[in-house]
Structures are given as C-alpha cells and as structure tokens.
Symmetry: C2
C-alpha cells in the first residue's frame, strides 16, 4: 500500500497488513469460515445443524472454525441448559453482519460460475 510516496501499512491487533484484502481474508479466509458465515447469515444455527448444512466438514474442523469466528467477534455462541442434552446456538454478531455485503458478492460470483459452467448433481445420500 503506497500513499504519497511512502510505504505504509495497517497495524491491527498486533499484525501488519500491507493490503486491505489481507485484512478481510484473515477473517473469512481458509476452507470453511466463509461457508459457516454464509449459513449463519440468515439466522441462528446449532452445531448439528451446521454440520448437516456443511456435510464435508468434520466436527473437529467445525468446532475450530466456530471458535475462531467467535474469537474474531464475528459470531456469538449461546448455551442453553447446562447438562449434557444441551443446546448451543451460533449467530452473527453486529460486527459479523457488516460482512454480509462482501459475503453476498463472493457467493454471487460463485453462483454465477456454477450456473453457467457447472452442473447440478444430486447428492441425496447425505
């Protein structure tokens, strides 16, 4: 990032970013985060629901992603009940909701490509 002949960068939470893309990608990058956010975009979901919506993710990965997203302040985790059959719900925070336009743009491009170049396949066995 070059401003008026000087090399400058953003410093955020101790990390240096030379480019705004980097910042966003640090929040939504990786294989799963954007997908999880996508499904939380339209409302609250429980752990098992997310696992069903994202069949290819393992529970371990889902757990890791949810905790990372929570640490970043993008989602909230709410626990109902304290004994084993408990209910945990995840939803976007207000901060997380600011990502929605970007998420929509990303999904729109993917959908466009999928519709024009790809084919729909049935994966009903899930």
């Amino acid at each position: 990032m070059i401003i008026k002949g000087k090399n400058v960068a953003y410093k955020l939470e101790g990390k240096i970013y030379h480019c705004a893309m980097d910042i966003t990608m640090d929040y939504i990058g990786g294989k799963w985060k954007s997908v999880v956010l996508w499904y939380l975009k339209n409302g609250t979901h429980r752990f098992a629901e997310l696992k069903k919506l994202i069949p290819d993710i393992t529970e371990k990965m889902l757990s890791i992603q949810l905790r990372a997203l929570e640490e970043d302040g993008l989602i909230v985790r709410k626990v109902y009940g304290r004994k084993p059959p408990m209910r945990v719900e995840y939803s976007l925070t207000e901060f997380g909701a600011t990502l929605i336009p970007a998420l929509n743009a990303i999904a729109k491009w993917g959908r466009g490509l999928g519709d024009s170049e790809g084919e729909l396949v049935d994966v009903g066995e899930f």
Copy 2:
C-alpha cells in the same frame, strides 16, 4: 445447498461444491491469490513489480500463485523477448475481471476495519 427438499450440489471441473462460497473461495482463497488479483485489477504488472507491491511474499510463492491463477483462467501471462533480460507481464483476463465486484467488496470491508480499528504504520524500509 438444499433445493425443494433435495440435497444438490454444483459440479465444476470434476469437483463437488455444496455451496457457492466454496466455488469462489477455491479461486481467490489462500493467503496470496486475492492480493495478487487486487494489484492486477488496475492494470498489468511485471513479476518484480508484484514482488515490490507485496513485500512479504517470496518469489517462490508469487510464482506459484501466478501459475495457479493462470491455470484458473483469471490472469494471462505475456512474455516479451526470449533471452534472459526478458519481460513478463501479468494482467486480468475478461473472466478474471468478473471478479472485480467481489474483490472490491472484500477490500472495502478490510479497509473499513483498518481505518476504524487499526493504525497506519510506516514501513518505509521496504
């Protein structure tokens, strides 16, 4: 992705995607691709120019990312001259240009966060 009670997915170049986010992320995900695309968005750049614009990337990584982006059809590589002091230019393809709205949305969010929460630091030593 659930349509009328059936589980369907996109199949694109042999890969299965359950979610449109996935498709896009396959093209722009990872640590460097989006940054490279960002700098090519506004015009052609040479290898060494990109290296300067993205100080933290190694030549190896830059090379790998550029080849991956080329394989995906997002950028073109043009070589001028065939003997060692040669000139190689990279630029977005028409297909790559369709990503610009999404890239803009991603950068906008990062910039917003950087401006409100981060600080600008001088990294003039580059």
